[in-house]
């Protein structure tokens, strides 16, 4: 896979692809040679065409009749890995901290680059810490079931929250979050 660092194409950070693929492997969604192929030639610090991530996503979508709950779990698993083995612990100190990290799409911008109209955003639009409510607006090209899992996993990983619920049934791009 050719690394692509230019701003003309949509590219995704190698660690994200690795994280996604590793989550699939951990959950036994893919196994054996197919799993090895998923992360072959992917360098953690490299940038790769977004299509590479799509390829892995397709493996899951094509394998499951109802892939929504699976992709949600992949997103959760991916963020648990990010927190446990990646930089997550340094960046996020508690569950709400994960939401703060999405302010101005800073979290998302660290893993996806490219033309603005293709990159989109993953932005914390509203946060009521006292009331335990938040809203994230996502216009990214990522699968929305997986993004729901990313939010749940990112907020769960620090271990301080007792309750987390994320809904986006009405509008897949709007994630209504409740937490306590």
């Amino acid at each position: 896979m050719t690394k692509d660092n230019k701003g003309t194409k949509l590219v995704v950070f190698g660690a994200t692809i690795q994280g996604f693929a590793q989550a699939c492997i951990n959950l036994n969604i893919v196994a054996g040679a197919k799993a090895e192929n998923l992360i072959e030639d992917i360098e953690v610090a490299g940038w790769y065409p977004f299509e590479k991530l799509r390829e892995i996503e397709r493996v899951v979508v094509e394998a499951y009749e109802n892939s929504g709950p699976i992709l949600e779990r992949v997103g959760m698993e991916m963020m648990l890995g990010w927190y446990k083995y990646g930089p997550g612990k340094e960046i996020v100190k508690n569950g709400v901290g994960f939401l703060h990290f999405q302010t101005g799409s800073q979290g998302y911008a660290s893993v996806v680059k490219g033309p603005e109209d293709l990159v989109g955003s993953f932005n914390l639009e509203h946060l009521d810490e006292e009331g335990g409510k938040a809203r994230i607006h996502s216009t990214t090209p990522f699968n929305k079931d997986m993004e729901r899992g990313v939010i749940i996993g990112g907020m769960t990983a620090p271990g301080d929250l007792d309750y987390i619920d994320v809904k986006n049934e009405k509008n897949p791009q709007i994630f209504e979050i409740e937490f306590a």
Partner: protein, 307 residues
């Protein structure tokens, strides 16, 4: 007692054991667990559904495989009958002059070992024993091709050398193309002598107290475009000829030892005075007791010139 301590103890709290703040926390924890359970249920339901579909697909594939296997088995069964039918029956004249016994076993339904009886254009008998490389259908198809070649040329030629060279030259390109070759052990016999060509395979002639093992100086059919060597031996009444492929002699016992040419030849010599069918039966019994399993097609042909 804190909420965590209460939960840890497993004791049902009495009124006043939990503060309002702890009750709220307990409520949140409970809701959190409910949500987690909902997500887990959705995940496992999707996984189970996927497994169910995978099993259904697997069942369908198994049924397809079973159907395909059945078709192949039927075809192989027919191929086996065809190959058996292609094996020769000795002519009346041959039976009147030669005492003959043959054992042949293919490793699969069809195989690459092949023997044949012919009459030459000068009314001599010709006997060929061949072992086509590989096993199964491809070897059997080559067998039918070679049979046709020999039947064609035996109408015009009489010398084993000329016959085998003609078949080799005619078949060379074909055998190269299909990546096959065949051992050839070919004998033409008349009233007083036999002439043979041996490119692979084994031959043993017992004439009185003389024992002659066939010279094997030639290449297999399809390996090289070269001339072959022809040898002539006296073949009198009462003489015994055995021809066989490598299937028996290269079979091994549990210790990894070969059955061996020496063992088979000794056994033939030891039983040489018996009827040829009895000699053959002794050989097969000894072989069966020796070998751990068959690893190749087997052909053993024994004949004696009647007195």
């Amino acid at each position: 007692m804190s909420l965590e301590e209460l939960l840890e103890s497993g004791t049902v709290p009495a009124k006043g054991d939990i503060t309002e703040e702890e009750l709220v926390k307990l409520f949140r924890k409970f809701r959190g667990l409910q949500k987690k359970q909902e997500r887990d249920q959705a995940f496992w339901a999707a996984t189970n559904e996927n497994l169910k579909i995978a099993y259904e697909k697997l069942d369908e594939k198994e049924r397809e495989l079973a159907r395909a296997y059945s078709i192949i088995q039927d075809d192989l069964s027919v191929a086996n009958k065809i190959q058996r039918a292609l094996l020769p029956e000795p002519s009346r004249k041959m039976v009147s002059e030669l005492e003959l016994a043959v054992y042949q076993k293919q490793l699969a339904e069809v195989g690459g070992d092949y023997y044949d009886f012919f009459n030459t254009c000068s009314d001599s008998y010709a006997i060929g024993v061949f072992d086509i490389s590989g096993h199964g259908v491809s070897a059997a198809l080559v067998m039918t091709y070679l049979k046709a070649q020999f039947m064609t040329i035996l109408e015009t030629l009489d010398s084993p050398k000329a016959i085998v060279e003609w078949v080799n030259n005619t078949s060379y390109d074909f055998l190269k193309t299909v990546k096959k070759y065949a051992t050839v052990n070919f004998v033409v016999m008349n009233a007083v002598a036999l002439r043979y060509v041996c490119g692979g395979g084994f031959g043993l002639l017992l004439s009185g107290k003389n024992r002659t093992v066939f010279e094997k100086r030639d290449a297999f059919l399809g390996l090289r475009r070269r001339s072959f060597h022809e040898y002539e031996l006296p073949f009198k009444k009462g003489d015994l000829l055995a021809m066989y492929t490598d299937g028996m002699v290269e079979a091994q016992n549990d210790k990894g030892e070969d059955y061996s040419v020496q063992r088979l030849n000794e056994l033939i010599v030891k039983n040489a005075k018996k009827p040829v069918q009895a000699i053959l039966d002794h050989c097969m019994e000894d072989y069966t007791n020796f070998r751990s399993k068959d690893g190749d097609d087997i052909t053993l042909l024994i004949l004696r010139k009647k007195v």
